[in-house]
């Protein structure tokens, strides 16, 4: 296996806007806000940036195609810039471009920016998929939405592990309730209110068995990161954050085409996790990881991710959830900033928002929600549906 990029790349600056229904800001405003914060954080000037990667998903409804809207908005002076798109994992995809550029030696400093202006689509939830999955899929694909695609994970999981809808929904409600609590400690989060398990369980159903509070916020926002070669990071700041592993796994289609997959988990999450742990030299994730920001687009996604990342054994996540293992004061706090659930989910920005939180935590700058001495943080960014997905898993540390 290739040696990977462990300890080759460091993050020296990050920026993230407040997420939410930002009726008075457009995508350009959000990019400028996130970028200025990151420049200030890194202590560099715009001219120091050698290359840029730009992650956004619904191009037709916000920024258009290509990286033009990034370079024109930020007035980046004729640098190589590339737009990337990998559904909801687009943010981490842009980060990967920047990291690989720096690790290869092609440039010294690179920018990764993600943005989405979902609230100009006119939809509650994500826009309709239309031909997004290709024109043949228009004719043959089930009339699926994001919550429905993930809800199938729940019906299959409940069936396999013998959970009644009540038992299953209670565990899922614990996940959402925990994230709502964390959101109250997160000033830039979209949703900042405590919600009880009972209220979550009794909320209107969006896609059976998922109710309103099993679904993440639909938000506007931008987040970005500035990376440089790890050996030069201390020239910019005393507390850089190092990339320990960065892997993306994209399905071959076997989940939908072959009966081997049981529908209760996300195969690329498992595969990307294995690859990232190997790259980072982590052999026991449950013991070695300090905290996680996972792609909790829906509560059931978070549950299955615990198992796919080998934190909880298969079928046993419910036990860990109910024991508070992933709560803010648990062994591996998860979604410390509220996650997609409460911080919000502007598609292209989410992967970078997760990195923003891990960076702040590893620097001890996470305010009221700061964890005690975290060493290794994990982000998990998922695009698509459980039955066909793009998943990235990244690992970060605060020492070389």
């Amino acid at each position: 296996m290739a040696k990977g990029i462990k300890n080759e790349v460091a993050i020296i600056g990050v920026g993230c806007t407040t997420f939410g229904e930002l009726w008075d800001k457009d995508a350009s405003d959000l990019m400028v806000d996130a970028f200025q914060e990151a420049l200030l954080d890194a202590g560099i000037e715009k001219k120091d940036i050698d290359a840029a990667w730009f992650g956004t998903c619904f191009d037709e409804v916000n920024v258009g195609k290509s990286a033009l809207s990034l370079t024109k908005t930020l007035k980046l002076p004729f640098v190589p810039a590339t737009r990337v798109e990998n559904f909801c994992a687009s943010g981490t995809e842009s980060f990967r471009g920047a990291c690989y550029a720096v690790a290869s030696g092609a440039c010294d400093i690179a920018l990764a920016m993600g943005v989405e202006k979902l609230k100009d689509t006119g939809y509650g939830g994500l826009p309709d998929f239309g031909n997004l999955l290709g024109s043949q899929n228009r004719a043959i694909f089930a009339n699926l939405t994001a919550p429905g695609g993930f809800a199938m994970l729940a019906t299959a999981y409940f069936d396999k592990y013998g959970l009644s809808p009540e038992e299953g929904k209670r565990a899922l409600a614990h996940i959402s309730s925990k994230s709502h609590h964390n959101g109250t400690l997160s000033p830039k989060a979209h949703l900042k209110s405590e919600v009880s398990i009972e209220k979550i369980m009794n909320a209107p159903i969006i896609a059976w068995p998922l109710g309103l509070f099993d679904c993440c916020g639909v938000s506007d926002g931008a987040a970005c990161a500035i990376v440089c070669r790890a050996d030069k990071a201390k020239n910019f700041r005393k507390d850089p954050v190092y990339v320990k592993g960065l892997q993306i796994a994209v399905t071959s289609g076997e989940e939908m085409g072959h009966q081997k997959w049981d529908g209760t988990h996300v195969m690329p999450t498992y595969r990307a996790g294995c690859a990232a742990f190997k790259e980072a030299g982590i052999t026991n994730p449950r013991e070695e990881i300090s905290m996680m920001e996972v792609h909790d687009c829906f509560s059931i996604t978070e549950l299955s991710t615990y198992e796919d990342l080998q934190i909880s054994p298969r079928g046993k996540a419910v036990h860990d959830i109910e024991a508070g293992f992933f709560d803010l004061d648990g062994q591996i706090p998860c979604q410390t900033d509220g996650g997609l659930k409460c911080f919000g989910h502007p598609i292209g920005a989410s992967g970078l928002r997760m990195i923003y939180e891990e960076y702040k935590q590893l620097q001890g700058k996470a305010g009221e929600r700061q964890l005690e001495n975290p060493r290794i943080g994990l982000t998990h960014n998922l695009g698509g549906f459980p039955c066909m997905s793009v998943v990235s898993v990244a690992l970060f540390g605060n020492t070389l």
Partner: protein, 481 residues
């Protein structure tokens, strides 16, 4: 010797008590009290004349060879397309060979028997599938809104393995303008009902029956079963008297359970009669519309084995029913009121006709591929085997999923997706002989759906694109009842 070699039928799952219609609009037209009895079969929102014809044809085909079918005729007055042949959509849905003769028969409720006669006339030459299917729109508040019902029947005709021998026919054609509709119109115009009853049904059907008896030197008492496609109860009573039949000879019109299925009515009644017929029975079939066709058959001893096969037929479909108790739902299913469908209902992305053409039967007949190396069936067709342990390249053969049974590996009922009948239920279907497809479900309620539940495939209208004049058809999963 030529005749019918197989039969099948389809009646949609939804049944509406006619009192529900009368409750809503009886205040406007109190005379409808006389027809506000019994129930009628109502096509689901994703059904039409084409989809019901496919369902009846599949019921008729059973294990019969599709390769042997040389023609498909589709009769109806309510087919979705004015141009783009409806029959060929049915034929392709059934995965019949492309070297097949197809034609639409329409314009009159007599079209069902006209199609059957055309097939029988050609039966020495080979096997023809005849479908009659009806899904007629009636104006809210009209008596037809009460009497019209939806359903379909299908027959195979040929010269081998005949279960009902075709003995002869007599046709009357007359421009009797009881109901009329131009190309531009959605609803029919009718003349006075008493005139239609007396001068239409009563006089014209009697004339056709008399003509047939005379031509073949028969007596009405020769027939074990008499099928008069006369949905008007008042006319029927007089007709039985006029032709000299006894009530025991008369085949039920199913007006109390299904309703007036127009061009499909005589053929659905014939299918029901064959389900109970005995060898040697003579059956008279008389249609109505712009005249009348009278046909007679003699049942052979092949009927016994045919009755033992697993088709649902009319009797099977009559027992599978679900109440449609909300009148508003009926109006929505038939697109009779503008509904606030929201942004998800308004957005329809264009369909690439060239892609459909290229895909051939992949979409229309749910034909995927099976890997010759490892045997894995897969959908849609792949050039590189999806089995991670195989990966063979360009070693596939066509594989039809539409006649396979599957079970649900996962499902949901989605309230966010736009559906004419929310929640939109869909799930991952694992086929018993391998292969997996994510499919919409229909004809079921969410609380009845469970993981591992068995499902069969049903040809349905998947989406409508009114702006571009297009209906997209595909297969959905229906829980085994």
């Amino acid at each position: 010797m030529v005749g019918i070699t197989s039969y099948g039928a389809y009646i949609p799952w939804y049944r509406m008590n006619r009192a529900i219609i009368f409750e809503q609009l009886g205040w406007f037209n109190p005379a409808n009290a006389s027809v506000a009895r019994g129930e009628k079969a109502v096509a689901n929102y994703d059904e039409d004349g084409i989809t019901m014809a496919v369902a009846a044809a599949l019921d008729c085909l059973g294990k019969e060879s599709r390769e042997a079918v040389g023609g498909l005729y589709l009769a109806s007055t309510s087919l979705p397309f004015a141009q783009r042949q409806n029959a060929v959509i049915v034929s392709q849905g059934l995965d019949l060979p492309s070297a097949v003769r197809t034609a639409d028969f329409g314009g009159s409720t007599r079209a069902g028997t006209s199609a059957l006669l055309s097939a029988l006339d050609a039966a020495e030459g080979g096997v023809t599938m005849v479908c009659a299917s009806e899904n007629r729109l009636a104006k809210p508040g009209s008596s037809q809104e009460h009497t019209y019902g939806d359903g379909a029947a299908a027959f195979l005709t040929g010269h081998e393995n005949i279960l009902a021998q075709f003995k002869g026919s007599f046709s009357v054609s007359t421009d009797f303008i009881d109901f009329r509709r131009t190309q531009e119109e959605k609803f029919c115009h009718g003349w006075e009902e008493r005139w239609i009853r007396d001068e239409g049904y009563s006089r014209i059907i009697s004339e056709a029956v008399a003509g047939l008896l005379d031509r073949y030197n028969l007596k009405i008492s020769d027939f074990a079963k008499i099928i008069l496609a006369c949905p008007v109860a008042g006319a029927m009573k007089g007709l039985i008297r006029a032709i000299g039949a006894t009530p025991e000879q008369m085949q039920d019109t199913m007006m109390a359970q299904v309703g007036d299925t127009g061009a499909a009515l005589p053929l659905m009644m014939l299918a029901a009669a064959l389900e109970e017929a005995k060898a040697g029975d003579k059956i008279l079939v008389v249609s109505y519309g712009s005249g009348s066709d009278a046909l007679w058959f003699e049942v052979t001893d092949k009927i016994q084995s045919a009755q033992k096969t697993s088709r649902k037929g009319v009797s099977g479909h009559l027992t599978e029913r679900n109440d449609l108790s909300v009148y508003g739902k009926y109006l929505v299913f038939r697109n009779l009121i503008p509904l606030e469908v929201g942004i998800r209902g308004e957005e329809v992305s264009p369909t690439a006709m060239s892609a459909l053409g290229r895909d051939g039967t992949a979409i229309s007949a749910l034909v995927g591929s099976r890997c010759r190396a490892c045997g894995t069936p897969q959908y849609p067709k792949q050039r590189i085997c999806v089995n991670p342990d195989c990966g063979a390249v360009d070693n596939m053969e066509d594989y039809r999923f539409s006649d396979k049974v599957g079970t649900l590996a996962a499902y949901t009922g989605d309230n966010l997706a736009f559906s004419w009948d929310p929640p939109q239920i869909y799930g991952l279907v694992d086929f018993e002989d391998g292969g997996r497809i994510l499919l919409d479900l229909t004809d079921c309620s969410l609380d009845s759906v469970k993981v591992k539940m068995p499902v069969t495939m049903s040809f349905r209208r998947k989406y409508a694109d009114p702006q571009r004049g297009y209906y997209g058809y595909f297969w959905k999963a229906v829980p085994v009842k």
